[in-house]
Symmetry: C2
Subunit: 167 residues, 2 copies
């Protein structure tokens, strides 16, 4: 395989920046930056999320069977870096960020420009990130975005050239 | 569920435009525009593609067990619309577009700015689009893009506000 071409061609796929959160109700809370996300079905609304298989967040999501995907806006660059680190909950905040629990218990970040709550349907345990396939059960949009929703979001390139790129 | 919020929040996920191609070696050729795509693993390199479950392209990809994902560049808007229709092969072209077969037999479009060849690993048969999880086995980059690879690609919004958006 032409590995240089593989790296460059795969980088043509655009990505957003999201914070995946979950709370298993037994004291384990996840809040991790992810970027491998796509919707996969309209009816029912399904998404697929690639989650690093050896991460704490993956273990919590798998155990809880439900999670939230928080969308970061253009001002969310700092938040993206915060959630590269393992999550900690203190003073009612997760990794220093205010939140409130969603209907499924997952933390909804106050800083997010939108969020979907999801129930895990299937996990494909292949690769260094496993594929969590989940149904969207609720959605939150604190303020309607002006113009196209895509224009409001933080995109991967805003984090710099070395973040989240293929090897 | 707040369905209006669901629609808008899911539209915050960015998408590229791709032509999924396959040839099962038995006379069935697929070439269809898709946009539900994400990488899901670095090692091995895996991608997940949502493919409309009742489409001819899905049947061919499933039967062939291998396919190519052709990346459309900024000048590929017309190609995107062409491949919304079922593919036909005539005069050595697929739906009027010149191609050559990849190592796995899948048509590589001359008009593409890059392509990856893939072998299907798993299919998650859930939703109106099924999730084809596949390993990248080869990659083609006719000309190295100037700047970030993402900047060269055609994005969904270029097709207009009503194309490929959630319901």
């Amino acid at each position: 395989m032409n590995t240089d071409a593989k790296k460059l061609v795969l980088r043509m796929i655009p990505y957003g920046i999201y914070v995946l959160t979950a709370d298993d109700g037994a004291g384990n809370v996840a809040a991790a930056t992810v970027n491998f996300v796509t919707q996969t079905s309209f009816v029912p609304p399904l998404i697929a999320v690639g989650v690093k298989a050896d991460s704490g967040a993956y273990a919590v999501v798998k155990g809880a069977g439900r999670f939230a995907l928080n969308m970061l806006g253009k001002s969310g660059k700092g938040s993206a870096f915060t959630f590269f680190r393992p999550a900690d909950v203190a003073d009612g905040k997760v990794s220093g960020h205010a939140f409130h629990p969603g209907a499924n218990g997952a933390p909804l970040l106050e800083a997010a420009i939108g969020a979907v709550e999801c129930t895990v349907r299937t996990i494909v345990a292949e690769g260094d990130h496993h594929i969590v396939v989940a149904e969207v059960t609720e959605a939150h949009l604190p303020a309607a975005p002006a113009g196209r929703p895509q224009a409001a979001r933080l995109v991967r390139k805003a984090l710099g050239a070395t973040v989240f790129t293929g090897r």
